[in-house]
């Protein structure tokens, strides 16, 4: 029971989400599904980031009426991973959008979403 902390639940969910993502892009043939797997992988890393930041019984890193500015260091969670998570989410969106656009382009050529059909370059 001592292991059942919020942080560990976050880690577990994040890691399993990442593994599901990896499983997805290694087994699914449909390019859209592969991109979905990436999105899941990404969400997993965001969960990890937030879990890393978490400290039990603390509040968000915003100094307002509920948080004493002088004692903030003992009352708030770590802001750094949150900042990293913001960045990672936006990057993830950019990459997802690009992958989808590339997929559109590929689809134009062969009218198929099966990644194994696109083997014109090899060896």
């Amino acid at each position: 029971m001592q292991y059942l902390t919020l942080q560990n639940i976050g880690f577990a969910t994040g890691f399993i989400l990442i593994l599901i993502g990896i499983w997805g892009f290694l087994t699914q043939k449909n390019i859209i599904k592969i991109i979905i797997s990436f999105a899941l992988f990404d969400t997993g890393t965001h969960l990890l980031l937030v879990a890393v930041a978490y400290i039990k019984d603390r509040t968000a890193p915003i100094i307002d009426s509920s948080v004493n500015s002088a004692n903030a260091v003992n009352e708030i969670v770590d802001p750094v991973p949150h900042a990293l998570a913001l960045t990672a989410i936006v990057i993830g969106l950019g990459i997802t959008a690009l992958m989808l656009t590339f997929t559109l382009k590929l689809f134009k050529h062969k009218k198929s979403l099966d990644i194994t059909k696109y083997k014109d370059l090899k060896w």
Binding site: I9, W23, I32, A39, A85, I89, K111
Partner: protein, 81 residues
């Protein structure tokens, strides 16, 4: 304690949705499931005292991403008709 139970619940739900997203053959279902994964993740972020991340994940991860997925899917589906 309530947070722990809630987050276990959310975590399990996220995993189930993720597996649905990966394993289903229906692309629409998969995209919606992904959106739900993001949405529930953003709720988890709130529990983890990360409102900024939660907002971003909700707006971008489960909002705009899903819309972009649907746009592309729509283009592809239409040409299949």
């Amino acid at each position: 304690m309530i947070y722990i139970i809630l987050s276990v619940f959310l975590g399990l739900f996220i995993m189930v949705m993720a597996i649905v997203a990966v394993q289903t053959d229906n692309l629409k279902v998969a995209i919606i499931a992904t959106g739900i994964v993001s949405l529930f993740a953003s709720i988890m972020f709130l529990i983890y005292a990360a409102p900024d991340v939660a907002m971003t994940e909700a707006a971008i991860g489960s909002g705009l991403s899903t819309i972009i997925f649907f746009y592309v899917l729509n283009k592809i589906r239409k040409s299949n008709d």
